[in-house]
């Protein structure tokens, strides 16, 4: 699904990713953990196509496509989804119009007709139920006046609407209370299937109690320094990050 090979990226003159390798198979859930400043969010941004980051070396193969060759919107249409750590408020753009434009952009890319209004509304209803997003929030301007939890639920709602091949969750647990964490996680778990992969970026182990990963990776200084089964997350929680600083050979 996703093969990252020797990825280097920088912001302005500061190198952040320094030779990152990662392979994610179809249907797999990978968690990336790591201390602040290790490059977790940079990885998410680089994969999603944020323009502030410059890739200086390496390659990313996304289901047979050279991901780095595509713009942000093309990546999304190919099936990549980023759940933002800080979802953006866009006054005046209704959540529904936004989703309709996004769904239709993807359909156009797939050679399909725009979705019929009735089908769209049915889809909205079904997907919103996954994360208990009520009608009031669906109709409002994108994220405007949403609480932290509502914003994150809206991210997962959008993910459900767009049915990506690979979803990257960038610190989706930040700013969530226990109930919201449960709702968001259940939404994600409901979408797990053999064809859809997840890259879960988190600082804390608690999210991984709810979204149980197949693999856990530790990112430090712009490289994956340790990989292991889900138990690695517990070990990290107990011992902190200091005991693994050296890259694996």
């Amino acid at each position: 699904m996703l093969t990252i090979n020797n990825l280097h990226a920088r912001v302005e003159d500061t190198p952040i990713l320094k030779g990152l390798n990662l392979q994610i198979g179809p249907g797999e859930v990978h968690a990336i953990m790591g201390p602040n400043g290790s490059g977790k969010s940079t990885l998410a941004s680089v994969l999603a196509g944020r323009e502030d980051y410059e890739v200086t070396a390496g390659s990313v193969d996304f289901d047979g496509i050279d991901l780095l060759d595509l713009g942000a919107s093309e990546r999304a249409r190919e099936g990549l989804f980023l759940a933002f750590q800080y979802p953006v408020e866009i006054p005046g753009v209704s959540n529904l119009n936004f989703m309709k434009a996004a769904v239709n952009a993807k359909r156009e890319h797939q050679g399909l007709e725009p979705i019929a209004a009735k089908d769209f509304l049915a889809m909205v209803k079904e997907k919103a139920a996954l994360v208990e997003l009520d009608g009031r929030l669906r109709d409002r301007s994108v994220n405007e006046g949403f609480s932290g939890g509502e914003k994150k639920r809206n991210e997962i709602f959008q993910m459900a609407m767009l049915e990506p091949k690979l979803a990257i969750l960038d610190e989706t647990d930040s700013g969530l209370d226990i109930d919201a964490l449960r709702i968001v996680s259940e939404g994600v778990n409901a979408m797990r299937d053999a064809g859809r992969s997840f890259l879960v970026i988190t600082h804390y182990q608690r999210l991984l109690d709810h979204i149980v990963p197949d693999f856990v990776h530790v990112l430090s200084e712009g490289q994956i320094v340790k990989s292991g089964p889900k138990e690695l997350a517990l070990e990290l929680e107990a011992k902190g990050y200091d005991w693994i600083k050296e890259p694996v050979a």
Binding site: A76, V88, I90, G92, A105, S141
Partner: protein
């Protein structure tokens, strides 16, 4: 510097010479006063503060002349440019009303006709030919007064209302044409009317449109104006609306500049009855090297009045914009609640806006707020939209539509708002 002025004055004399042959509207004292004022008033150049960013110098470089009355309405132009709009119609070509393309209301208490007809029928008393004295203050006003051609005359008796809006469509065709439409609207107490002012021009059209609208809104009356400028060609468009409001009246205007080579809108509202409410909203989206200037004056003179002003602009390419919003709260205007907001997005590096809110408050127990912003597209929001698969163009379109959405929403006619939205979408490639 005097020499510059002399050149402008000479140019101005030369410029108006071609107007002398205009069919006089028949408002002879107004016309005489206008001619006299033309000889006295300074030509608006950069030296005048009010015209600093919109000097008429470029317009003066190509003298214009009045066009003869057309035989008929041009076939290629829809008399009603708004699909689905059910409206009465007063239509003009190059300043002349084209009677056979008009559709006028006939109802008790309603007088709606070409202004020229109202003059002929003696419905305008000598000494009541103008309500504002604009022609005594401004050169461009004097041009209109001296050479006014025709326009809408709408007068509603107390308690009457129009069942449909009146569409006033002014179309320009031909090169170096001068059009001086003049409109007059008078609503008696508790009367209600909606007017759509639409201006268009053909691709080859050039010259000047110098339009004046004067309105009186009686006590408890409501007047709404949807004003849309959609002119192809290269027209210098000077517009002046002056509205006087009575007690507990409401006046609303939406000024949408969809397209125009060079546009100067002057809007002036005077509240002289307490409890009056005014809405002045507008949007402008110039591109290429277009120029759009909105000068507004909101004059609160009596207590318990409110006003809400919202102008939004997006400036593309090398276009230039001006917003100047004057709000007066006179000494007696206690309990005034005045709001003014002007928000601009400069979409391209070559574009610019000069924005200036001006509040003069002489009463002490009032609520006045104003804000003025100039910014760019929010990159973070654009990335968010794109990260969901929406293309760059469509993402910008969504954001622009959201930005001007609250201006379009409040328009009197949803058909007009929809048509404006679709013209903008077509023009800016948002479809």
């Amino acid at each position: 510097m005097a020499a510059t002025n002399d050149i402008a004055t000479r140019q101005a004399q030369n410029f108006v010479a071609g107007l002398a042959g205009a069919t006089p509207l028949g408002l002879s004292s107004l016309s005489d006063e206008g001619r006299a004022a033309l000889a006295e008033l300074p030509v608006p150049t950069r030296r005048s503060e009010r015209w600093k960013y919109s000097p008429v110098t470029a317009m003066l470089a190509s003298p214009v002349s009045s066009a003869p009355a057309p035989k008929s309405w041009p076939e290629s132009v829809p008399a009603n440019p708004v699909p689905g709009l059910d409206a009465y119609r007063v239509v003009l070509v190059n300043g002349h009303v084209v009677p056979e393309a008009c559709d006028l209301p006939v109802a008790d208490g309603v007088m709606c006709m070409p202004l020229s007809q109202a003059v002929k029928e003696g419905r305008i008393a000598p000494g009541d030919e103008d309500w504002t004295g604009y022609h005594k203050r401004e050169w461009v006003g004097a041009v209109n007064a001296a050479h006014a051609q025709d326009g809408l005359f709408l007068s509603l008796e107390s308690g009457t209302s129009l069942d449909r809006p009146v569409l006033v469509h002014h179309h320009v065709t031909g090169a170096d044409v001068a059009s001086c439409p003049r409109h007059r609207v008078c609503l008696g107490d508790n009367a209600r009317a909606e007017v759509v002012l639409w201006s268009s021009a053909s691709n080859q059209a050039s010259g000047m449109v110098n339009a004046v609208l004067e309105a009186r809104v009686g006590a408890g009356a409501r007047l709404g104006l949807d004003k849309v400028q959609h002119e192809h060609g290269s027209i210098f468009h000077l517009a002046h609306e002056h509205v006087t409001q009575g007690k507990d009246s409401t006046f609303r205007i939406h000024t949408l500049t969809v397209q125009g080579h060079w546009v100067r809108n002057e809007l002036s509202v005077l509240q002289h009855g307490s409890g009056a409410h005014t809405v002045m909203h507008g949007a402008y989206l110039p591109k290429g090297s277009e120029h759009v200037d909105n000068h507004t004056t909101m004059d609160h003179t009596v207590p318990y009045c409110t006003s809400s002003e919202l102008y939004k602009g997006i400036l593309y390419d090398r276009s230039t914009g001006v917003f100047n919003g004057k709000v007066f709260v006179r000494q007696d205007a206690q309990q005034t609640n005045a709001y003014q907001q002007n928000a601009n997005i400069v979409a391209d590096a070559g574009a610019s806006i000069n924005a200036k809110p001006e509040l003069e408050i002489y009463a002490d127990d009032v609520k006045c707020s104003h804000g003025c912003t100039v910014g760019q597209f929010d990159d973070e929001a654009l990335f968010y939209l794109k990260s969901r698969g929406i293309g760059d163009r469509a993402a910008r379109a969504l954001m622009v539509q959201a930005f001007i959405g609250d201006v379009l929403e409040g328009m009197g006619s949803s058909e007009v708002a929809d048509e404006v939205a679709s013209l903008l979408a077509e023009r800016h490639g948002w479809m």
